[in-house]
Amino acid sequence: MARFTIRRLIELVLVFFGVTFAIYAAVFALPGDPISSLGGDQPLSPAVVERIRNLYHLNDPLWSQYLRYLGHLLTGDLGVDFRGRSVAERLASRWPVTIQLALTAWVIQVVIGVGLGLIAGLRKNTWIDRGVLILTILIASVPIFVMAVTAQLVFGVKLSLLPIAGVTDGWPTSYLLPATVLAIYGLAAVARLTRGSVVDTMSSDFVRALWAKGLSRRRVIGVHVLRNSAIPVLTYLAIDLGALLGGAVVTEGIFNLPGVGQLLFESIRVHEGPTVVGIATALILIFLLTSLVVDLLNSLLDPRIRHD
């Protein structure tokens, strides 16, 4: 177990350097000058532009900029953006929003997705099974943008039930609509995956043996089938949580949630290199850590994995 964990941690470090450099280089290569657009519609005087460029070492070559950035990063300093605001502080103010949104969406996916999958899997080839299949495919095929705007119009404008923008009403009110919209897209996958896994397990030899032994339905399904079907679903759900934490750009944008996804989008738009790399680094860490946790969990659920 220890060796396994250490091996994963070393991989993590390598991926970390590779990806931060790739992203730094990508932002560096974007055409146009981020400083000249700082003034919005007004022209900045060339002297001001030059001073800001020097302040941020923007005239240095890529490798020198990256090494400087890395140096600061290793001491835990994410630097400041082109307007002089601390990147770490901006990120810190946005994580709570993204985490609340992601967790709410994730819980909805787990409860409804796994629930639907279980029902469908246990009632294989009935009309319920087919109904779940059609329903999940139908809603997942509506573009997220359309779904979000429709939800806003129905629940916000017509029914006046829920707020449609911002987080001023706090959790859960402000997060219900965006989290539901966000959850719908992982829902189909979770449901299908759970169903498939349950169907597989139900038809495996050991379950047949359990039936033959005369165990109760509740015990066979509740303990043995569920636990053995859980591995692929759990892997998917953990990766999905990582994706939710970093990928809700569209949802955060449409619902005006000041989260990390929105910050990332805005920062790319204005070529805010330091912020983009800072967010990307955080997201990579989350992704690597969640997949590490998944592997460890899986090895707990299925002893065969850890005795490889």
């Binding site: 700082l38 003034g39 519609d41 900045l44 005087s45 002297a47 001001v48 805005e266």
Partner: protein, 528 residues
């Protein structure tokens, strides 16, 4: 959206006699509060803000003030006078105070302007002060500046200071109006910590901060009781930040926010959605179709004229902007005093037959016409419409409209002259004078943010001549001469006078129009 916000000129206007009439008291109970959708302001320091116009307008008062009819009045200043357009004397109104009780004096202005102009500070609005004598010494091209004071500023007494300009400029008083926040005064308290001041500014305006500004959180300002200017009709304004203004639009529909500047993407439907709660105000935005004057195919003036006459501006406006944008008939918007009506004449009038004929006379057009515009800014429909019009009405087979990834890339391509076809060009003036629009498009000093660019010595000379006039009427004649000279060359077709559209929730009875903007503080609520 950011661009739109950048040209907002919300303002305090002289209510004059109205404030005496019964409706102005708010003592009868409920606070009259309105909320306004904005993009995140980043900073509220008037010397640095570039997208917080509507906020700093309420927190600070400018020396002069342009009303919605374009006329210039005084606000914090009692007078701004000069006989030669170079030496100006500014007299302040007595009794004005900052929100912390500090007196607004000549020193409050002079020290603030020195700080804004001082090169090493690198403040974004520094460029507004470029014509004050001594600016170059504070911003040397190389090395460090040896002084921290503008040589052109002198405090005479508590309420008087003089300004010496580098070159004569009769429009100086207009430049001191409500959207040029680089000219706002700063209190002593500001100099202790500018970061803190940017979050919780202490101004001389009709409203003061309640708490401090935090990124992406609603921000509230309340009426400042000791304010010496015209009394606003509302007691409180809440600025609600949105990253996507189409979301704000839906939120106003749902009644969660009161007022919004309608984004281009919603203009076609705003009258249907909001009925008489949609307002169309005169803007100071001028929209051109830039042409690549460095490309051989566009060097014959007849080609440029043909392109202008081949586009049915009204039809484009009807389809994309619900008919709200007005086809341009001059080189400056009508909100700028003295802009002549129909100066462009038949060159700006849709006439496909004449257009084809002109193009044929010029030898036709070879190859592909590639229209470029900045992507991600909701401009796609407009430029696709131009492409369709040019394809159909000029008979050029291959016309495309392609977005760049974003604004910085677009600006780089244009500045490097790498565009080979018509392109995006617009400017929202910061003060209501033809000077502002003409300088931005037609002088190098304008900085070419979204310019054409077309620079000639003749235009520079004519502009300088008009600038030198102290008499507003003579200045206007001068600027019209500039326009006439440019139209002879016809470097780029003027396309639209932009209108600024607002929509409100049903809590609002009436919006007050400002100069190219909205007077947020004079909003009338329904329950009044």
């Amino acid at each position: 959206m950011k661009r739109a916000a950048a040209v907002l000129l919300t303002a305090t206007v002289a209510l004059g006699g109205c404030s005496g009439g019964g409706g102005s008291g708010s003592a009868e109970g409920a606070t009259k509060s309105v909320s306004f959708a904005v993009s995140d302001p980043v900073t509220l320091n008037p010397g640095r803000q570039t997208i917080a116009f509507s906020q700093v307008k309420e927190l600070f008062s400018s020396l002069t003030f342009v009303k919605s009819d374009g006329s210039l009045t005084y606000l914090n200043a009692e007078s701004v006078k000069s006989s030669d357009a170079v030496h100006w004397t500014v007299k302040l109104r007595p009794g004005w105070t900052f929100h912390n009780g500090e007196k607004v004096t000549a020193e409050s202005y002079v020290k603030a302007w020195n700080t804004v102009a001082y090169g090493p500070n690198a403040w974004e609005n520094s460029g507004q002060l470029v014509n004050i004598a001594g600016y170059d010494a504070l911003n040397p091209a190389k090395g460090k500046s040896t002084t921290t004071q503008l040589s052109g500023l002198k405090v005479v007494d508590d309420l008087t200071f003089t300004v010496t300009l580098k070159s004569p400029d009769g429009q100086f008083p207009v430049q001191l109006s409500q959207a040029q926040s680089g000219f706002f005064p700063l209190p002593e308290a500001a100099y202790k910590d500018f970061d803190a001041f940017g979050k919780q500014p202490i101004g001389n305006g009709p409203f003061q901060m309640v708490g401090s500004y935090a990124e992406n959180e609603p921000m509230t300002v309340k009426r400042y009781d000791a304010y010496q200017g015209p009394k606003p009709t509302v007691d409180e304004i809440v600025f609600k930040p949105y990253t996507d203004m189409t979301t704000a639009y839906t939120d106003v529909q749902a009644g969660n926010t009161d007022i919004l500047f309608v984004p281009a993407a919603r203009m076609a439907q705003v009258k249907k959605d909001f009925g008489d709660r949609a307002y169309v105000f005169q803007g100071l935005g001028m929209n051109y179709l830039g042409l690549p004057l460095w490309d051989k195919r566009y060097q014959d003036v007849r080609v440029r004229q043909a392109i202008s006459m081949a586009i049915d501006r009204q039809a484009v406006s009807n389809v994309i902007y619900g008919g709200i944008w007005e086809p341009a008939t001059a080189l400056t918007p009508p909100g700028e005093p003295g802009t002549p009506k129909d100066l462009c004449g038949e060159l700006c009038t849709f006439n496909p037959t004449k257009a084809k004929q002109l193009l044929a006379e010029a030898g036709g057009f070879s190859g592909k016409m590639e229209i470029r515009y900045p992507g991600g800014s909701g401009l796609d429909d407009l430029y696709n419409a131009y492409a369709n019009q040019l394809r159909q009405n000029l008979g050029i087979k291959d016309v495309t409209a392609t977005p760049t990834t974003d604004f910085p890339e677009f600006q780089k391509l244009r500045n490097d002259k790498k565009l080979s076809g018509p392109y995006f060009s617009r400017w929202g003036a910061l003060y209501a004078s033809q000077q502002n629009t003409l300088r931005s498009f037609y002088t190098k000093a304008g900085g070419c943010v979204n310019c054409i660019p077309y620079y000639t010595p003749q235009v520079e000379q004519l502009l300088a001549k008009a600038d030198a006039q102290v008499d507003p009427q003579k200045a206007i004649e001068g600027y019209v001469d500039v326009q006439k000279a440019i139209l002879k060359d016809f470097p780029a077709p003027p396309m639209f006078f932009e209108k600024y559209t607002y929509a409100t929730s049903d809590r609002i009875a009436k919006l007050a129009e400002g100069a190219g903007s909205l007077e947020l503080e004079n909003t009338t609520l329904v329950d009044n």
